[in-house]
């Protein structure tokens, strides 16, 4: 996304500007605990927010919206309950549009790549959750670090199944990503094994 303007920077900032933000943080923790929500499912709940609402609300409101959405989806509360208590409209995230993941496929136990290897990111477009940023899809980079084996977010967001794979930190030359000739800049993105060709 581009054309977003200046960063609203401040050097000193409290953890919470307003007390409701701390409560929203705690409510999200309570819901994810009660409904056993994975990190992937939680992040996807935020990604499913109506785009205008997402861009015009702060991160604590994102957390609140995810908490309320997950509470409804997991049957802890109903939307009608929420609206009645709030005395008005209660915006929730949109429905999951990706099909459920029925087969987790096989875990990857050994890294396919090592430090220094050239890799290419797969190019695909999912209606569901992924942690592969769009700006590196199809791009080539170099592995600079091989990290641990971790649960694949694309699976855990859409299933109770799990698949684990190695993750890699991959260095991309910024000029190759953006085709703008900028010099001396590299961008490192941490990617699961299945994100790579």
């Amino acid at each position: 996304m581009q054309g977003l303007g200046a960063v609203a920077y401040s050097a000193a900032e409290p953890a919470f500007h307003e007390s409701w933000q701390a409560v929203a943080r705690a409510l999200l923790m309570a819901v994810t605990e009660a409904a056993d929500v994975s990190g992937g499912e939680f992040r996807h709940a935020i990604e499913r927010m109506e785009p205008g609402h997402y861009l015009t609300s702060d991160y604590y409101e994102h957390w609140l919206t995810a908490a309320a959405t997950l509470a409804v989806e997991h049957g802890l509360v109903t939307r009608a309950d929420l609206e009645a208590r709030a005395g008005g409209r209660y915006p929730l995230s949109g429905p999951v549009v990706a099909p459920p993941v029925d087969h987790a496929r096989t875990d990857v136990d050994e890294p396919r790549f090592g430090v220094g290897d050239r890799v290419q990111v797969r190019e695909w477009h999912t209606p569901g959750h992924t942690r592969c940023p769009r700006y590196v899809r199809g791009k080539k980079g170099t592995v600079v670090r091989v990290d641990g084996i971790h649960s694949v977010p694309d699976v855990e967001a859409h299933s109770t199944l799990r698949r684990t794979e190695p993750t890699y930190s991959v260095r991309f030359d910024a000029a190759e990503l953006w085709r703008d000739g900028q010099r001396g800049v590299s961008v490192h993105v941490d990617l699961w094994d299945s994100y790579l060709e």
Partner: protein, 197 residues
């Protein structure tokens, strides 16, 4: 109405939504007594950049510690008693006279909570997330981080499980300082990589 003639502001819509979800979850027994207060206290006073500053100060004074920190961030940070959610897989990247590191999470707001606390609002907002990978040299300059024109910039997008901490350069004129005094010099922004010391 109070005797001073003003009344508290009515709750905003987001505060009403927080209160509604809090009430419903409490009625269902999903929020233990004191939980919200405990979460607030933890994020406001236990975790924050004062923890990361202690790590940096130790690394400046103790070359063996610095070596361990760069080799295995998680273990070296745990030596000082810091760890937990969003800090299980720490990588520390070192700034030098010619290399500048800066951290972003383009997909959401991943941030090393045990050493830096909750992220500042600007870190979670779209302008920072979009522009730090697209035009980091211009954005750093705009945020007041004046790098030499030929400095190499390494951007780290925390897109998987690793969380990054920048080890800033020790400023001149600090040779006589104690570890506690050095920790006072270290700022949150220098450990994100959007400021120099």
């Amino acid at each position: 109405m109070t005797e001073h003639g003003h009344r508290p502001a009515p709750p905003s819509p987001v505060e009403q939504r927080v209160a509604a979800l809090e009430a419903l979850l409490t009625e269902r027994g999903l929020i233990p007594d004191g939980f919200i207060e405990e979460v607030t206290r933890r994020y406001e006073s236990e975790i924050g950049p004062m923890n990361g500053a202690k790590v940096v100060a130790r690394a400046w004074l103790d070359p063996a510690y610095k070596q361990r920190l760069l080799a295995d961030g998680t273990a070296a940070i745990a030596e000082l008693g810091f760890g937990g959610p969003e800090g299980h897989h720490m990588v520390v990247v070192e700034n030098t006279a010619s290399v500048h590191n800066v951290v972003v999470c383009t997909l959401c707001s991943c941030y090393p909570w045990p050493v830096l606390g909750l992220p500042p609002a600007w870190y979670k907002d779209p302008p920072y997330r979009a522009r730090m990978v697209r035009e980091p040299r211009a954005l750093l300059a705009e945020m007041g981080c004046a790098l030499p024109g030929d400095a190499e910039i390494r951007v780290w997008d925390s897109s998987a499980e690793v969380r990054y901490l920048v080890l800033p350069q020790r400023p001149d004129g600090t040779d006589d300082m104690t570890e506690a005094e050095l920790a006072e010099v270290v700022t949150r922004d220098s450990m994100i990589g959007v400021a120099l010391l």
